[in-house]
Assembly symmetry: C3
Homo-oligomer: 135 residues x 3
């Protein structure tokens, strides 16, 4: 079994930017010698996370809203004392969501549901270039 | 190392139905050539999720209640404008919990704690037949 | 591909004790025959969880606070009727966070971000010795 570490570069706008990366992950299967298996995805960095969702504009708003309720941007965070970068909410949201997701594939195709996309969420406060690690 | 994609069909009642699937996952190890390894589990669909818990009636109530606090069923969701199926809360809960869980096993037995069961949670609004993917 | 099940013993203080286990996980790679791959981590027990974060004192406070908001310690939990051990909040927090995390490594080094550490969180109400399973 051959393992390939691939880095997916993602350019984000930050501020709980929710990005559909399904096609990028699907494309990475082209270079994979396996027809069947699973792809572990991992966010390098502590202000981003991964999950799946039905990727449509209105639900994107709902999910952003849910994270605002979970860890409001304007609440007090002790982390702000440490660095003064005012992204305490970004860290809390990212840690609650988690940085890892493992997606199975079969016949070289991700076994997602019809209305299920893989999303990377950048919770940080400004645009970034992010590294997502795929095996 | 041989990989087997297995589909576990789960019949649910929906409405944050929490189902103990530990025995089903354990049974799937019978057909596995490995004595030691890990089983990646994945929910096909965007309104279900996976985690572990002590599966007992009262805690099941508490976990349902926690999801109701996290994303209340009767809140306003923009997603309702898209399809009119009033399951915005189901999607939000599922995306926060996440669709993937990887459970190790040793000597053909899941290495769970004594009071730890694997649960599939169906957040959707009516009963469904769900596909859970196991490798 | 050789799989090794390793148990990491963690001594905790409980009460949402957040412990940086990055070095322990990194050390476990020494005994691994692979230079590149991923380590699936799994918490044995239903009141602990895993995630990553920037491990610094103030953010540790913020994350504890977020879990207190998510599932307050002094709320009513039906689970208390079952065992009378008053750790309903511990179970709810652990199930929401999840027991599994898969971390990639390359050249025998975990591919974490510079400000990203792996943490084990013990939500239970008193100190414990915990088993974390690594492959």
């Amino acid at each position: 079994m051959k393992l390939l570490t691939t880095y997916l570069k993602i350019s984000t706008k930050g501020n709980t930017d929710i990005i559909d990366i399904t096609q990028d992950v699907q494309n990475s299967l082209r270079d994979c010698s396996l027809r069947e298996g699973q792809i572990p995805l991992f966010v390098q960095g502590s202000t981003g996370g991964l999950t799946t969702m039905e990727y449509e504009t209105n639900l994107v708003k709902d999910i952003k809203n849910a994270f605002e309720n979970l860890a409001p941007q304007n609440a007090d965070y002790a982390h702000h004392i440490t660095w003064g970068d005012y992204n305490g909410h970004s860290h809390v949201r990212a840690s609650l969501l988690g940085p890892s997701l493992t997606v199975p594939f079969k016949e070289k195709k991700l076994t997602l549901g019809t209305w299920q996309q893989i999303v990377f969420i950048d919770f940080d406060t400004s645009h970034r270039n992010r590294n997502l690690i795929m095996h």
